[in-house]
Structures are given as structure tokens and as C-alpha cells.
Amino acid sequence: MQEEEVFVTGNEAVARAVKLAKPNVIAAYPITPQTEIVEVLARYVESGELKSEYIHVESEHSAMAACIGAASMGARVFTATSSHGFLYMCEMIFWASIARLPIVMANVNRALGPGWNIWADLKDAMSHRDAGWIQFYTASVQEAYDTTLMAFRIAEDQRVMLPTMVNLEGFVLSHVMQPLRLVDEAEYDRFLPPVRIPHALNFERPHTLGTLISPEHNYLVQYDNNRCMRAADDVIAEVEREFERMSGRRYGAVMKYRCDDAETLVIAMGTLAKEAEVACDSLREKGEKIGVLRLRQLRPFPKAFLEEVKRLTAERFIIIDRAYSSGYGGILAEEVKAKLYDLGLKKEVKSIIAGLGGQDVPHEALEKMFMDKRGGEVWFGV
């Protein structure tokens, strides 16, 4: 079977991946810049190309609630949202993970109001890093597609059984058109076994989901949740290897670019990490030993990241954040610093806050900021 290539937006790529996964139920609600996903899926369902039950819910809270209802029955489900929609489903987001339901969601990252802003910002998802979802952050149209394909397999793995979120940044990735290599449907069918949710409701042995739970048991549920989240780290790596066998494309929890001999290590997520690679090339030409380490997976926080950081010799870390924890710091920067402490490593750390609310961050500007030897926290544009 000849591999096919199409030229599509990040949103359409996600929709195409979902089509291959054939969810039983899709429940979603429009919101810019995610709407195209919902629309393309509605078209597939309408034309019969995709045989899913499509629920045109009246809000995002209901979107996630409907997903939870369907998954509790053992169905494969998908939803997509962004920013305010994401926050509006917040109660149900936590519910989904505590209920251990393998729901897959695409979140098109966008800034939060008031002051309506539809552009890229990671605060929506990063502020929910404690919600118990596996979180991926993608950086190309192809990667958004591939990660969505893998997300179903990872979420539904019996060792994991956790909801999984694929993030793509609003407009810069959701609306950019790039070539996309498609995965063959028959091969993907082999890659993704039928969904089996062991605790789904059934009529043979009736049980109750979500009944009252006492202090003697609640913490055990939370403990178990964390155990599976940790286990997911290895499962993800395994699935990525298998995906590579199928598609020839290799992913990892961290993606390294010219890191091995780097004295300065830039750490970033999403498209900003890609832009940083361009700055890195330019600085390399000028003799700077600099590399970019891109984090693709924020939860579970990848062991691979710790291993790399231990191995790499860079003494100076520059961490780019497109989300900020007010009164604390760049979210990624603070996470990395905490991990450095765990590893007993003392590095010089510089935190760059850039790209909030769709702020344009050209590689030339990154280059300048990388060269500025001052440490501490820098807000681009301030």
C-alpha cells in the first residue's frame, strides 16, 4: 500500500486521526480555534465515512460528561476543545481521570479571558497538569496526527486506563497547513486493538460507579491513579516504538536537537521549541554550543527527561514558558528546577516567558534572549 500524503491544517490532521480510531461516541462543542476539528468530524459522520454517534452537546461540561457516560459503558470516545471550553468542562476533566476512563481529547491551546483572545497560550492545559490526564504537547501537523493515533492506544492500555490529552497550539499549529503522511487504515486497525474497559458497567455483574467512598478508601484510589500514571511512562515509550515500526516516524517523551555537546540547553514545549531550534542553528554557526530539548510529554513527567538531564553536560539551562503561574514562575521552569533539585544538580537557570496570548516569538528574538547571559526570569517584550 502506497503511503499517501495530504496537505492539511493541524486541526484536520487530528480529525483524520480520530477517523482512523473510529470512536463509538464523539461529543464536542465548537470553540475557536478548535472548531474545525468538530466540523470535519461532523462531516465524516454525516457522510457515513465515520460511523460514530455524534452528540451535538449544548456545552463543554456536557461534552465531557457525555464522554464519561459513554466510556462508563465501555465505549471509545473522543472530544476536542480549547481554553474557555476546557475550563468549562473542568469538573468533568477531573472526574474522567479519577474514574479511570480512557477518553482522548484534543485541546487546542488558547489564552483565557477576560479580554477575549483566541491565540496560542498553554495556560489552559498546563494549569490542569494535576488533573490526572496524560498530557502531550505537539509541534507539527504530522506530530499532532501521530500523537492522536497513539493517544487512543496509550489511554486504553490495560496498565494505564487514563484519559489522554493531545495539545496543539491555537492557530500557529491548529491552522497552519503542512504536508501530512497518512497511516494506512488496515495497519492502524492492527495497531489499535478494540477497546476494553474492565470496569465498564455491564448487565452480567451489576456494579455501581461513583458511589460514596470513605477516607479509608479514597486515598487508595488516588494512590492507584498515580501508580498507573507512572506506569504510563513506560507504556508510552513502548507504544512509540511500535508506532515507529508501523510508520517509520520516531517520537519520544523528549526530543533532542544538537544537545549532546551543548553547554547551553534550551528546554521548551510545542512550536516554540521548534522556533528555538532555528535560533540554535544560527547560534551554532556563530560558535555557540547550544541545543534544544523539547518536552513532548508533561504528564506523566517523563523519566527520559531526568535521564537526559543527568547525562547531558550543559551547565546553563534556558527554559521557555508559554504559561505562567502567577506569584510563582514559568510553569515548566519551576517543574524543571524541582527535578534538578531531586537529581542533586545545580545548574544556572534562566526562565523566559514568551508567546503568551499569541505573542509572536520570532527566532531572531529568541537568539538574542539566549545570548543575554543574565539569569533569572525574563518576560519577552517587557
Binding site: F7, I118, W119, P179, R181, K274, P362
Partner: protein, 223 residues
């Protein structure tokens, strides 16, 4: 043609194009066609546009990046190598050469306007009456002449993409939502073989692209 994208060319792997149009005229589709054309020639490309509340008829811009290697830039294009002006009335309301590198290429649909091209003498200027070409083949959507197809044909004159790949790209983009290209990339010879069997509107589009290409005039410049 001065513009090659070889690695040896002083690290010049990349061409950035900005397209000016009005909302509803198909500027994004033009950007996509250019990107697909480049992709057919084995290059990397991306297409995108300015986002926000676009209203029908208001000036807008779309972009294409073409490169010999994976494109990792997601920031906006501020210093294009090439500007394409689809709408003849836009040059009087928008600074179409903003950020255009000196000596950069400017392709303008002059329409039947008497656009003052003299003010663009710092650039390599190409002119075409794409509106007339479009009307000649009766290419209209909702009563408005389709400008993207002839402009993509004309753009082949700039040496960024070939006319054949432009025509193939037009076919693919207009031919349906999914632009399927075989991975055995375009070989560069018989782009239009078998067009006899195409629907007549498709043929008209291709003819319009070709005519616009032929009618595009280089007005000044060095190279």
C-alpha cells in the same frame, strides 16, 4: 532565474511569500496552492494566514514558506522575499511592500486599475491583469472573479515554482478537500496528461493559470 534554494546558496534555504487579498477572495487557498506546488517539487512548505476576525471584503494576508529542509518556524513572516498582490485595489490602502527585502519580488494583479508601479522601483516587479484572465474564462464564485488561480499561474514566473507544478497544485487543491499527493514526488514532465478527461471548469482553471503565466510581464529589476 537568480533564485535557487540550494544549501550552498549562502544558507538561503528558504523563501517566504506574503499574499495580499481581501476576505473572501481566496488568498489562503492561493497560499495553499503555492505550498502544494513546492511540495510537489520535493520541497518542504507550510501555508497559513493572518487570523482573527476577518470580515468579508476587508484586506487580509496569507503566507507561504518554502524550504529545502523541515520548516520549524512558526512565527509570522515579517520580511518576505516575495509579495503577491491579488486584489488590484489593495495597494492603495495597504503598504504591500512592508518588510519586503530590497530587490525582492513583487507580483501585482494590476486589473484595469492604473496602479502606479513606479513607486515600487526598488523591487523586481511583475504585473498581470489576473482579473481579466479570470473573467475571460468565466471563473467566478458568488459573482466575484476567482483571482487565486491566475495569480498562482503568474507566480510561476517568479521562479519559485514551475508552471507545471502550479497547475498540478491547482488541480489538487480545487479537486477536493484532501490534497492527496503520491510520495513518489512529482517527476516534472507530464503534469497535464489526461486533462481532456477533466471537468470543464477544471480545464478552464488550468487554462487561466497558463494564460496568466504567459501574460505576466517583468517590468524592471536587475537579475
Amino acid at each position: 532565474m537568480v533564485w535557487s534554494m540550494s544549501e550552498s546558496d549562502e544558507g538561503k534555504h528558504e523563501i517566504e511569500i506574503r499574499i495580499h487579498s481581501r476576505g473572501g477572495q481566496g488568498g489562503v487557498t492561493a497560499a495553499k496552492m503555492l505550498a502544494v506546488a513546492a511540495s510537489l517539487e520535493g520541497k518542504y512548505s507550510t501555508a497559513f494566514s493572518i487570523y482573527g476576525a476577518e470580515r468579508r471584503g476587508s484586506p487580509t494576508a496569507s503566507f507561504t514558506r518554502i524550504s529545502n529542509r523541515e520548516i520549524r518556524k512558526y512565527s509570522q513572516i515579517r520580511k518576505p522575499d516575495c509579495v503577491i498582490v491579488m486584489d488590484p485595489t489593495i495597494a492603495s490602502v495597504v503598504d504591500v511592500t512592508e518588510g519586503l527585502k530590497p530587490g525582492g519580488k513583487l507580483l501585482i494583479n494590476v486589473g484595469n486599475n492604473s496602479t502606479d508601479l513606479e513607486r515600487f522601483r526598488d523591487y523586481e516587479v511583475y504585473a498581470v491583469d489576473a482579473t481579466r484572465v479570470s473573467l475571460r474564462f468565466d471563473l467566478k464564485v458568488a459573482g466575484i472573479p476567482v483571482l487565486n488561480v491566475p495569480m498562482v499561474g503568474a507566480a510561476a514566473r517568479l521562479g519559485i515554482i514551475s508552471l507545471d507544478s502550479a497547475k498540478q497544485a491547482i488541480l489538487k487543491v480545487l479537486g477536493g478537500g484532501s490534497v492527496v499527493t503520491s510520495l513518489a514526488r512529482y517527476a516534472g514532465t507530464t503534469a497535464l496528461d489526461g486533462t481532456e478527461s477533466l471537468p470543464s471548469t477544471m480545464r478552464k482553471n488550468l487554462m487561466a493559470a497558463e494564460l496568466a503565466y504567459k501574460e505576466t510581464k517583468r517590468l524592471n529589476g536587475s537579475g
